[in-house]
């Protein structure tokens, strides 16, 4: 195999990252059959499958996958898109036995980022969701213990949102400036 840029030949990607693209067509057709009222779109990139659902259907979809055998929650993350005014919540789930792995995501509005918690499906979602709440400000309904985890408890802002400044006076809005309060 020649080294270098592989362009758009996705076959090579499959060779390098063996096993990441376990066939998911059956799983997706099962999802289509069992959840008839859920609208979703499927996106494939570099052998990874993403299911995009509406906010209200996220928990229902995750519950289907949990019952379908996806027993391991790998990660919960989030991403802010200021031009669309949306925050995406991304769940990455996996079945250890068959190595199936799928990403389920949903876009929430920045004004009211509320979503149902997945803590009742996977207990491991607890801290991952707390992290998303802390840094991105997404509120998980039904979460047993939604507190800040990285930032101090009296912190008011959500640092991972794009408008949070990296420098300048505004950056200090949650903290005492050096020399203050001594």
């Amino acid at each position: 195999m020649k080294a270098g840029r592989t362009g758009e030949r996705d076959i090579l990607v499959a060779e390098i990252y063996k096993g990441w693209d376990v066939d998911l067509t059956e799983t997706i057709s099962r999802l289509k059959e069992s959840l008839k009222d859920v609208e979703f779109s499927v996106h494939n990139f570099r052998g990874e499958t993403t299911i995009i659902v509406k906010n209200g259907d996220l928990h229902k979809t995750l519950e289907f996958f949990k019952n379908d055998g996806f027993d391991y929650l790998v990660d919960v993350s989030s991403s802010h898109y200021p031009e669309r005014g949306e925050i995406e919540v991304i769940y990455l789930i996996r079945e250890l036995k068959s190595r199936r792995q799928i990403r389920v995501k949903s876009a929430l509005s920045v004004e009211n980022p509320m979503v149902l918690s997945a803590c009742d499906l996977w207990r491991g979602a607890d801290w991952f969701e707390r992290e998303v709440y802390d840094l991105m400000g997404v509120i998980f309904e039904g979460h047993p213990d939604l507190r800040r985890i990285m930032m101090p408890e009296d912190f008011e802002d959500f640092p991972l949102r794009k408008q949070y400044p990296m420098e300048g006076d505004d950056e200090w809005r949650n903290f005492l400036k050096p020399g203050e309060g001594e």
Partner: protein, 403 residues
């Protein structure tokens, strides 16, 4: 004589005790609030975030090459693994194929990082439980690994060795012989530790049936790495989703049965031996004469040229400048997740491209963060003296958890 029992009107109540963040046995700045009923732990709440530096936020404002030194400071006991993990993730996003020599060098470097990280773990775990000697045996051995890293990367600790598309520099002549010599002698150290601990009465008493977590709970709580395997789940990213050609090498995945601290100890000890086997096999693939950098010009433009050439040739200097300023173009709003089996567990990178060389979003799925989540389940019902053993057996690194 019959003992008289009477009600003295004394009440018992639970005691809330704070442990950390400056406690020496919490391996960094981990704070646990323990609720005690006498000597028994009835509740435990871990608090993290004391070492939060906002690496994810910083990564959104730096080029992907500039993020590499920050990954050193995440899991600071195995920086090479983190570097290589990030590079592999970015290469997946921009679809870049590394050379065979680079692949072999990355395998060897990350396995050496695993061994040195596990040596630190056994040293500190034993020290926490009051065994002083293993600390010195393990640290002496680890010092030899740091010497190899020094020769390999130029730095002992925070190495920043990975580069997107390759590695920072080629190995000096004869380094592969030194590595072979080192890994051939490491089993002696592991055997010594084995003799000191494995059948030691005190070690068994302090570790067996401590911090137990069942198979189902471990999977449900997203435990990862050696901690998951110690609970009896046969799961290793190197076997499940082989990267860097791990499917070519013969090695076994040690799996525990009881999910207690003793099993986690056994799993890690065996993992070190398996890593040595991988390094030995990979060294056979190492071809000193081959080039670390790809041959064709188009690919050479995409990442850092060798340092010697930068200092002597005009074209390479321009390449260097272009890579540093422009760097790899990531596809806009396309996302990937890539995970490696780091010494602590599954280290994942979730990257959203932005159309430039800066990631729109870079999220780290750090293994220690996921592992510490299981702490309340493990501690509940145990003795207060076992808290130290349980925390140490999870092998936490707070730089990794807090990011």
């Amino acid at each position: 004589m019959k003992k008289e029992t009477r009600d003295l009107g004394l009440k018992t109540q639970t005691l809330t005790m704070n442990m950390g963040p400056q406690h020496p046995s919490t391996h960094g700045v981990l704070r646990i609030v323990l609720t005690l009923d006498g000597e028994v732990v009835v509740g435990a709440i871990p608090y993290i975030g004391f070492l939060h530096r906002g690496i994810e936020k910083i990564a959104e404002n730096k080029t992907l090459h500039q993020v590499i030194p920050y990954t050193d400071r995440m899991d600071y006991l195995s920086p090479i693994s983190n570097n290589i993990g990030l590079c592999l993730a970015v290469e997946k996003l921009i679809n870049f194929q590394i050379t065979e020599k680079c692949r072999v060098m990355r395998v060897i470097a990350s396995e050496l990082a695993r061994i040195s990280s596990h040596l630190i773990w056994i040293a500190t775990h034993a020290l926490d439980l009051g065994a002083g000697s293993p600390y010195f045996y393990a640290f002496t051995e680890r010092e030899k690994y740091l010497d190899i890293f020094d020769e390999m990367t130029g730095v002992r600790f925070t190495v920043s060795y990975g580069r997107i598309g390759g590695l920072a520099r080629d190995w000096e002549k004869g380094l592969d012989k030194k590595i072979l010599n080192l890994v051939e002698n490491t089993p002696k150290c592991i055997d010594e530790l084995d003799r000191l601990l494995t059948r030691n009465r005190i070690w068994i008493e302090r570790n067996q049936n401590v911090g137990v977590i069942s198979k189902e709970e471990a999977v449900n709580l997203s435990l990862c790495g050696p901690n998951l395997r110690a609970s009896g789940v046969e799961w290793d990213i190197r076997k499940a989703y082989p990267y860097l050609g791990y499917e070519k090498y013969k090695f076994e995945i040690p799996v525990g049965e009881n999910g207690d601290a003793y099993d986690r100890y056994l799993v890690r000890m065996e993992e070190m031996r398996q890593s040595i086997e991988i390094v030995k096999q990979a060294l056979k693939d190492y071809d000193e004469k081959a080039s670390l950098w790809p041959e064709d010009i188009e690919s050479q433009k995409s990442f850092y040229p060798p340092k010697e050439k930068v200092l002597t040739s005009m074209e390479e200097l321009i390449h260097q400048f272009m890579v540093a300023t422009e760097g790899p173009k990531t596809p806009k709003y396309e996302e990937i997740y890539f995970a490696i089996e780091a010494p602590k567990g599954e280290l994942g990178f979730y990257i959203v491209g932005s159309g430039t060389n800066v990631a729109h979003r870079l999220h780290f799925r750090s293994p220690t963060f996921a592992n510490l989540q299981a702490l309340p389940v493990m501690l509940k019902g145990g003795m207060v003296a076992d808290v130290v053993a349980t925390v140490a057996s999870l092998d936490p690194v707070m730089g990794d958890a807090d990011r």
